[in-house]
């Protein structure tokens, strides 16, 4: 079975498979940018032991589709593929792979950066950080795709 473009999974992520999903069916490909997010050993001065990711899987996939549609509107002929992992992840393990494929490198880089900013803003995926001395749910942004201010901020970071 072909790798889906958008997925939330408890299994280890396969960046090459995500890239293949991104370019599948795209007519003209000249650049493929991959962002791989990994679990960092420290956060806000705490020594992180591991992260436990929880997701509302079907809505997260819906969020990825929304982000892809937003990116396609801004960068024509550009396609995204996004896979996010759930469950307990050790330091250095991959939590997310985003691939942006396009005819040229500039839109591929920009769309990839835009996508990770948007995932962080709206995807219903939560990090439970287990650190040396305790644990905490990381809470940042209210997950609202129609918040135009947040969207503009993601665009600004992508095109800085």
């Amino acid at each position: 079975m072909a790798t889906p473009r958008f997925a939330v999974t408890a299994s280890a992520l396969d960046a090459a498979g995500v890239a293949a999903a991104a370019i599948d069916g795209l007519e003209s490909v000249g650049g493929i940018v991959t962002f791989t997010g990994v679990v960092r050993a420290d956060n806000a001065g705490r020594r992180v032991l591991y992260l436990d990711y929880e997701a509302y899987g079907p809505l997260a996939v819906r969020a990825f589709e929304i982000i892809d549609a937003e990116a396609a509107g801004r960068w024509p002929a550009t396609r995204l593929a996004i896979h996010h992992r759930t469950g307990p992840l050790r330091i250095g393990e991959t939590s997310i792979v985003i691939v942006a494929a396009s005819a040229h490198r500039a839109p591929a880089f920009e769309a990839c950066r835009y996508a990770i900013e948007r995932v962080k803003q709206i995807a219903p995926i939560w990090k439970h950080e287990h650190f040396d001395g305790g644990d905490v749910w990381i809470e940042g942004a209210t997950a609202r795709p129609d918040d135009e201010g947040a969207r503009a901020e993601a665009l600004s970071r992508a095109c800085g």
Binding site: R62, K120, R144, E153
Partner: protein, 92 residues
């Protein structure tokens, strides 16, 4: 009518369940279900300003009316966009 409520992260911890079924009156909105939960779990109240919601796997405003059998979800804030790595003050 009856709706299934999905709960996540710290909101799930507060309620002590990932899923609850609530009986709500005809015409009830997402906001009504949230208020109903707060009445039972007052520790949810601080989330009123930051929670968002979904209805049948689409993001939905709190004023959205519900139908019998709906699956609704209340989403505490997600991890956010703070990790720019350049120092937050420098980011627009």
């Amino acid at each position: 009518m009856r709706v299934t409520v999905r709960l996540f992260a710290r909101v799930r911890d507060i309620v002590g369940a990932a899923e609850v079924v609530r009986e709500v009156p005809e015409g009830a909105t997402l906001h009504d279900v949230w208020q109903d939960l707060i009445a039972e779990y007052p520790a949810l109240e601080p989330y009123t300003a930051s929670v968002s919601a979904a209805r049948n796997l689409e993001y939905a405003p709190m004023k959205a009316p519900l139908a019998d059998g709906d699956e609704v979800a209340f989403l505490p804030p997600v991890s956010g966009g703070s990790d720019g790595g350049f120092g937050e003050a420098a980011l627009p």
